[in-house]
């Protein structure tokens, strides 16, 4: 204790705190007269290690430790660095938020760690080494001022005023990974699902599949017929997302079928677009549909046009056209945001028959209140197959149904596991199910993370 007091008095920045440990004052502040007792009066964390961060591009390292059960709540873990093993150790040169006792638990992170019950007692910190380069360059451009191979770290605990650093000195070389093993289950599921889809597409060539009735798609013909009888146009909107989203692709797929029907009925379709690329695709789709229907002369490229890619300006323009032209039918397919109700309500007020289809789950209720028929979620993706009755497309819809069956089984399994774990926990303060319970917990962890 005497040695400690003398050290504090002689060295304003660095002082020997305990055997093998160093206490330093926080940067930019006057050293505290006495290192806070709160930093000294608990057992230090153990098993402090550094290693390469798994499943990354070779730019980060990972520091893990077994947490100290006696650490007070107002103390947080931090990391100091040095460009040589001997020190001196300084705070990280970029923003770093120290972590508390219950944060960054290894058992809660399945991306970098396998699930083990024991990992509930371990914590981790990820150090992004590119942040050193960004600081060195003063920008986000990479400039090797810090040599990653010479960076050493120490884990510490901190309050607002002081830091206590622990041995050992930590060092790890980041390694570039060519496969992200945390996505292995994803790859497995995706591969199996793709094989199932291709199997059903192949089977569909030989066998007829039953597909349940979708009222909204059955009403498409009715809507087009109504427009023909009334001599009014049909409005078809592909949503507000760009061509890179699958819901917009599904909407343009459906547009091909609708346009073909429109051409057959000798009616008129107008497609106001939110995105110029979507406009180009829609022009081509409608033109081909008219050609296929044997009515190339009836195609008018001016009917597929761009308005703007500003959300409310687009709505104002489309609503204005609805009010002026009084379309007999409005189709809203694709992804929508807050404008869904504005479009739906104005269309409804003009007396048009309205069919909507979106995978934007928060907008579905708005379409349900304002439209006559709504394709909910996946029905939008099945619409093209449903209307064309093309066996190959129906096969993929069947495959989705099979995947849903698997998901239902997984959900039931999750329910059973959840109840079993709950009962076991009630009977025994911990968990009486042993290694099986650990596996069930892992399953539930995955389940909670991804569903």
């Amino acid at each position: 204790m005497a040695l400690f007091t003398v050290a504090l008095a002689l060295a304003p920045v660095v002082c020997i705190a305990q055997t093998g440990e160093v206490a330093v004052s926080a940067p930019g502040r006057e050293p505290p007269p006495v290192t806070p007792r709160v930093l000294l009066e608990f057992e230090p964390p153990t098993e402090i290690k550094a290693r390469d961060l798994p499943n990354d591009d070779g730019t980060s390292i990972l520091i893990t430790w077994r947490r100290s059960p006696s650490m007070p709540e107002d103390v947080r873990y931090t990391v100091y660095f040095s460009d040589g093993a001997a020190g001196p150790y300084k705070p990280l040169p970029f923003d770093f938020r120290p972590i508390g006792l219950d944060e960054s638990i290894m058992a809660d992170n399945l991306q970098y760690f396998r699930y083990r019950r024991a990992y509930r007692d371990y914590q981790f910190i990820i150090i992004d080494l590119t942040a050193f380069d960004a600081v060195a360059a003063g920008t986000h451009e990479r400039q090797a001022k810090y040599d990653w191979g010479q960076l050493y770290f120490k884990l510490g605990v901190t309050t607002d005023s002081a830091v206590r650093l622990f041995d050992p000195v930590l060092h790890a070389e980041p390694v570039t990974q060519w496969f992200d093993w945390s996505k292995f289950n994803n790859l497995l599921m995706a591969t199996v699902f793709m094989v199932v889809i291709l199997f059903f597409i192949e089977t569909a060539r030989r066998r007829k599949f039953y597909i349940r009735r979708i009222a909204g798609l059955d009403a498409v013909d009715e809507a087009i017929g109504r427009a023909t009888e009334m001599g009014r146009p049909i409005f078809y909107l592909c949503g507000l997302d760009p061509m890179t989203t699958v819901s917009t692709i599904a909407a343009t797929n459906l547009l091909g079928h609708v346009a073909k029907h429109v051409a057959n009925y000798e009616s008129q379709i107008k497609v106001p677009c939110f995105d110029p690329i979507v406009m180009s695709v829609c022009q081509e789709t409608v033109r081909e549909a008219y050609y296929e229907a044997g009515r190339p002369d009836a195609y008018n490229s001016d009917n597929v046009f761009f308005i703007t890619n500003d959300q409310f300006s687009y709505v104002a323009a489309v609503n204005g056209m609805m009010v002026r032209e009084r379309p007999a039918a409005n189709f809203f397919f694709g992804f929508y945001y807050a404008e869904s109700l504005l479009l739906g309500e104005v269309g409804q007020s003009t007396g048009a028959i309205q069919i909507a289809g979106t995978d934007s789950n928060v907008q579905i209720p708005f379409f349900i209140t304002s439209c006559d028929y709504v394709l909910i979620g996946e029905e939008l993706y099945a619409a093209s197959a449903y209307i064309s009755r093309e066996p190959k497309l129906l096969g993929s819809v069947k495959a989705s149904d099979m995947a849903k069956a698997v998901i239902i089984v997984v959900l039931l399994l999750g329910l059973v596991f959840s109840v079993a774990l709950l009962i076991a926990a009630l009977n025994d303060g911990g968990n009486a199910l042993g290694w099986l319970g650990e596996k069930m917990e892992y399953f539930m962890q995955l389940f909670n993370e991804h569903i």
Binding site: N55, V246, L342, E345, E378
Partner: protein, 237 residues
Amino acid sequence: MMFLRRQLPVVIAFVLGMFTLVIFYIPAAPMQGIGDRLKIFVTIIGAFAMLLGINSILGQHITKIRKRRPGYGYSWVLILGFVAMMIAWIPWWSAPPEGSAAYYPWGGLENPQGAFYWMFFWILVPMQATMFSILAFFIASAAYRSFRAKTLEATVLLVAAVIVMLGRVPLGTSMTSWLPDAGFWSSLRLETMTSWLLNIPNAAGFRGIVLGVALGIIATSVRIIFGVEKTYMGGGD
């Protein structure tokens, strides 16, 4: 010609689709770098496509003016607005004063004295806000139509909606604040019922939709990558 129109797009869709799929599993910087560059291509194509969009909208309105179609005066408003905003954005006398990164006497949102700034914040933004605010009235009319208790389902919807609406405002929660905080009776407090409705039946329904959507997206992607679905190229399947 047929190869360019039919086979080549399918080949491009397959190669780029599979490549994008594969690099999702590869964290190494070289592969992610290629992926990032592909995204830049999309942005570049989008920028060029904007010219097509401008051509489309201006062409429409110029035709309307030329043929004196009803309401052609509004087409003048559009064209004048388009030209005014474009000119105002141009950095006139663009030499920046000492010490400043850029100086646009007319253009740019950085200059509060500029014409572009004025038009953007005092014309465009209020008009956008006006459109958005109409939503409040449409929500009321849509709610009125939906909540008329004509059927059992509509009645359930009405009751649930009333509970959720009351449970989200202080006046509503104060109505049941006399009930105890814990125990059986606490579950009858409006905010507790609201949380239950939102977190259990509502969340279950949403998750069901989301799962279906996810599978639908994968199925559609596979159909496009493997060339089973070709409607997006125009024409039949």
